[in-house]
Amino acid sequence: MGVAIAIVRMKDLFAVIMLSGIYGLLSASFFVAMDAVDVAFTEASVGAGISTLLMLVAISMTGRSEHPVRHKPVLALVVVIVTGGLLIYGTLDMPYFGSAQAPVHQHVAPRYINDSMQEVGVPNIVTSVLASYRAFDTFGEVIVIFTAGMGILALLSVLRRPRKTAGDIARDTAEIDSLNDSMHEQHLILRIVSKMLLPFIMLFALYVQFHGDFGPGGGFQAGVIFAAAIILYTMLFGMSTARRVINQSFIQFLAATGVLLYGSVGLVSLLNGKNFLDYSALSADPIAGQHLGILLIELGVGITVASVMIIIFFNFAGRRENSQGNNKT
């Protein structure tokens, strides 16, 4: 909470963003204390990792200091205090913290906790609710993520670049090589350590992806961790090197593939005469069908999330490179 108040006071946006990263990490540890391990996992990789990074890239393009507020913010303060007071008054009717009799715990939650083992056969209840009971919701969420990725592509991508001639490409390659040589001396330790870490980060992402049925984890977390590995690589070795390793149109293709994989699992069950995303259509044994369905869907989620995160980062970084190039000439 103290961190949040410090964010209000700071004028230097760099410090604000660093503080918001700390805030993300703190809320992740709060989620662990509240037994929400899956959520904490996501918040730690998203709130403290990727969002901090994206904001840093954004301020590198928009400038780092904030202008002082000229008018007195009295009106805003009054509005905030009145709203806050009303909300506090509203909380007086809320059930007490940790109470097992609270209305949230009365309706569908007992069924998830008591019957999900027989119906879905996956120990992690969060996964079985996410990918089986409420799979349709999750499909919607994945589509929102995909759409946001497309929106960023539309806003930031630099398509109107003049087509490159062979000479340009040769010059680019030479430039990359000379850049690499100079960078090698600058960040030698960082680069070697991160090179050693990268396979393990990716392996961990895959573990999180496929172990989501049994422990905390799943497609969302795995996608973010996998994207973080690629982004780490990009930051240390430069955009142009990363572009040579990862083809951008391939990543865009992957983002769509994830959504399509998810949707087609639903279509397969429709074609077999069951409801959309009813996994019992996938196999004769309902539990095996559930396992297969959850595996495929989590895979679709993971692919889409990872590739959308990479698309977002590449477009921000590519935009930045372009605007710097224009400034030079």
Partner: protein
Amino acid sequence: MLMGLYNDWVVVVLMMVGFYIVIAHGNLIKKIVGLSIFQTSVFIFYISMAKVEGGTAPILAEGISQYSNPLPHVLILTAIVVGIATTALALALAVRIKEAYGSIEEEEIQKQDNLDC
């Protein structure tokens, strides 16, 4: 007796801090940070609702009968990832505004718009 509600009050304070940043500051990036604080306060609200006294993480295991409510966890888990995607979209808009107006301060953008009319 009212101490049982302190988690809700923390949420309200955090939410109001975020709200204040959004309405009182002119810098678009700062507004986005404010929005994400507001968003996190909602996450904390949901997660603290899911907590059950004496319960444990919702992963089925032998010998445990009391679990936290898994449903809010699912909702917030996906909301966080959707949140980062939409935040990135907002940042992209801010970058484009900077390119078009040369500034991300609300007042300066308004001034330029008024000049155009």
